[in-house]
Symmetry: C2
Subunit: 186 residues, 2 copies
């Protein structure tokens, strides 16, 4: 059944967003899907192959969402709100961003995994900068766009991290207001 590969990726992604790559074993993953651990190796010979697949899967879904947002005839404000919404939804499920989680495990990752992670953050930064540029007229910050993009991204990743341990969406909520204040002045 070719759909097992998809099931494996979905289950693995869920597990990694909760417990990290090091908290995921081939055995528990296999059990979740209902096959044997050796069969998981058929689809992903090494754990780093699974890691790569997960980052790519997560990234492609994420950037597909960003494409939709960018394509809408919306204000910059609305676009940034939609961007933050993606993260808030992750937090609502008591998960971390998959790439944020793997960033914490960075030193244990293979070099190909590291590169994919890097790409995820680089491309997100680029997307943000592009939106800020596309709405020059609304952009009121005195800081340059790169700085703003980085602050948006790192503050959302951090907010997810802290909200999970303290419960609720306190930090994401705090960031929401602050990001607006920074991008649009007051």
């Amino acid at each position: 059944m070719a759909q097992n590969r998809e099931k494996l990726e979905a289950a693995a992604q869920e597990m990694v967003q909760h417990k990290g790559m090091s908290g995921l074993s081939f055995r528990t993953l296999a059990a979740e899907v209902g096959i044997k651990s050796s069969s998981v190796h058929y689809h992903f010979p090494e754990k780093s192959d699974l890691g790569s697949a997960l980052i790519q899967r997560y990234s492609s879904e994420f950037f597909a969402q960003l494409d939709v947002i960018a394509g809408r005839d919306d204000t910059l404000n609305a676009k940034i709100k939609s961007f933050i919404d993606i993260f808030e939804e992750v937090g609502r499920q008591n998960k971390l961003c998959l790439c944020g989680m793997m960033a914490a495990e960075y030193e244990q990752l293979s070099s190909s995994n590291r590169q994919l992670l890097c790409d995820y953050f680089d491309n997100t930064e680029k997307w943000l900068i592009k939106q800020l540029e596309a709405h020059k007229e609304d952009y009121e910050s005195t800081s340059n766009r790169k700085v703003i993009a980085r602050m948006i991204m790192s503050s959302l990743e951090g907010a997810l991290l802290l909200d999970r341990i303290q419960g609720g969406a306190r930090h994401i909520g705090a960031q929401r207001g602050v990001i607006n204040q920074i991008v649009f002045g007051r």
Copy 2:
């Protein structure tokens, strides 16, 4: 030699800030200090005991630094700068905040470890709020202090996470400017 306990804690802290609790084994830790893994169990019967000791050790050093900062006859601006400096120094060493790292591993932690982590972030939030209150006259933000404290903390934790994978202090640097902008207006 009672100093081995201290050596173990120091070595373990270093390892956890790089690789996380799950990336640390009693064997590698013991080897680092030059004793046997079974001897580590003498000092820390279970791994969660080591975890607790590490959070407490890290917290007490951190809050000692904050005490010094709070005690100085400085402006709010200077105090916040000093606060950020602590995080920047961690990043300069390609580490994460120990508690930030363990926050990512939250679901694998014992309940006592979770509580200690929670305390660390709660107390940091309280410290920040106290400083903002103590300098009412300089505080220019329209947001309330709790929101500002949360945004400072989560954005610095996130910045550490991202700076490590992209190298340099890009995100910490971005946060520095933004935090000022938020707290003091422009």
